[in-house]
């Protein structure tokens, strides 16, 4: 027994073995070499052979170890991946121990084709949404129906017939589709579980996490002005005549600035951000409307456009002249039709209840029943 002289040899040998396993994750190395020192020391116990003489070169020893452990040889290209197989196996073992385990397993087995079909549906959604950019749950054209049917049948047959002799390719394909489908399920569950999420109905069982850039975010109070649940980028004020106003400062009833709830948004391929006005004290004021916009990004042809600042343009001309709520309506009630009035009648102020011969004035509300 010569433990004293053996130990450094053994430690060196083990270190060399560990080095050979260096391309594996630290957890895997620990897992592989945990307890190994005791095993090797036991094997060497009572022998005067060196570790190398007993077990062979450390490289070969490490190679044998990893091969037996089902790991790829050193130098083989390792795709960094989470190996979830042990966990799945452990979960299965746990399931087996439950009294209801076999029932659940049997149900799962029976329901598997359902999963295959769902997987294909997710793939279909991905393809259709990518190509058409539209979002709908069910196919809307014959071509889309055909695509869906082909994908579903293909997905089921892929499993049923174990297509593709190259097993790795098949497994990769199926694995990717599974991952995609699981991801979309998680996403869908997440979106549906969020309470008060008003656009749930719009969310397809789909891939993209966005619903609409201008819709409410999933949770939390929104900073700034919203309109019917939609984020507001800019505000266009008009005067009573319908003329656009500039530099209008808006505050709420408590004197807080009304600022846009979304200061940057996408418009096609480009990004638009609204610019604050500068206060006298140099502060950025986001409540001075309409805010100017800066456009950056790419145009439709994919060319990068230099950042340009422009006046914001109202999406359409929805503003109208308004009648004013004046306690003495007679003087101003005819503000709208004034031009015609000057042509047809004397612009003398009219007394209330005093009808003038002008036809236009029959529209004024005062004493309407006389005409």
């Amino acid at each position: 027994m010569n433990t004293v002289t053996e130990t450094p040899d053994l430690a060196n040998y083990l270190a060399a073995v560990r080095r050979e396993l260096g391309d594996l994750g630290a957890d895997e190395v620990d897992e592989l070499t945990g307890g190994l020192e005791a095993d090797l020391a036991d094997a060497l116990d009572g022998s005067d052979r060196t570790p190398e003489g007993m077990f062979g070169p450390p490289e070969a020893y490490a190679a044998e170890l990893r091969a037996a452990a089902g790991l790829s040889p050193r130098g083989a290209k390792r795709v960094p991946q989470l190996d979830i197989r042990p966990r799945i196996a452990a979960a299965k073992a746990w399931l087996d121990r439950q009294p209801w385990g076999p029932g659940v397993k049997a149900f799962g087995e029976t329901a598997r084709p359902l999963w295959w079909a769902f997987r294909s549906y997710v793939l279909y959604q991905l393809i259709v949404q990518t190509l058409s950019g539209t979002r709908q749950r069910a196919p809307e054209s014959e071509v889309q129906w055909l695509l869906l049917v082909v994908l579903v049948i293909g997905g089921i047959e892929l499993e049923r017939r174990k297509w593709f002799s190259s097993d790795r390719f098949r497994r990769g394909l199926v694995g990717a589709a599974d991952l995609l489908a699981v991801g979309s399920l998680v996403l869908a569950a997440w979106l549906f579980v969020i309470p008060n999420y008003s656009v749930v109905g719009l969310v397809p069982v789909g891939i993209d996490g966005y619903t609409n850039a201008s819709s409410m975010p999933e949770s939390g109070p929104v900073e700034g002005v919203t309109n019917g649940g939609r984020l507001v980028h800019n505000i266009f004020p008009y005067d009573s005549e319908g003329n656009p106003l500039q530099g209008v400062q808006l505050f709420d009833d408590q004197g807080r600035m009304l600022v846009p709830s979304e200061k940057t948004y996408s418009e096609g391929m480009s990004d638009v951000s609204v610019n604050p006005a500068k206060g006298r004290d140099g502060r950025d004021l986001f409540n001075v409307y309409p805010l100017k916009e800066t456009l950056s990004g790419w145009d439709e042809d994919g060319n990068e456009i230099p950042a340009t600042t422009r006046d914001a343009k109202a999406s359409s001309r929805l503003q109208y002249p308004v009648g004013q709520d004046d306690p003495q309506p007679t003087a101003t009630a005819t503000a709208g039709p004034t031009p015609t009035l000057t042509e047809t009648a004397e612009p003398t102020p009219t007394e209330p209840g005093d009808p003038t011969p002008s036809a236009e004035l029959t529209e004024t509300p005062a004493d309407g029943d006389e005409g």
């Binding site: 897992e31 945990g34 005791a38 077990f55 037996a68 089902g70």
Partner: protein, 125 residues
Amino acid sequence: MDTTQLLKGVLDVAVLAVVAQEDGYGYDVVRRLRAAGLEDVGDASVYGTLRRLYAGGSLTSYVVPSDEGPHRKYYGITPLGRQELGEQRQTWAAFADTMSGLLAGSTGNTVPLERRRRTGSEGTR
């Protein structure tokens, strides 16, 4: 015949059988396998197999500290491991029967080619 090649296919079930008898640490399992007649079994192959079976849920493991030296990692069998052992035992029995029958039937080397083929195909059923 090179028994190391044969061992590769049955090392899992051999290790499961040894651990099913009694929990053991790495070198202990090696020793018991060798004592049982598998003298060619390689240390590292057994250790790797133990780790793999553990990762697959067939074995559990626990560490036993030692006063004299490094701690020992013991392995025990899980219900899943027992189930696998049972299945593999049956597979092995059927396979061994088949091979024994096949090899016993071919002791005379004057069997015509056609009959030999028939025996062979029957044997693998």
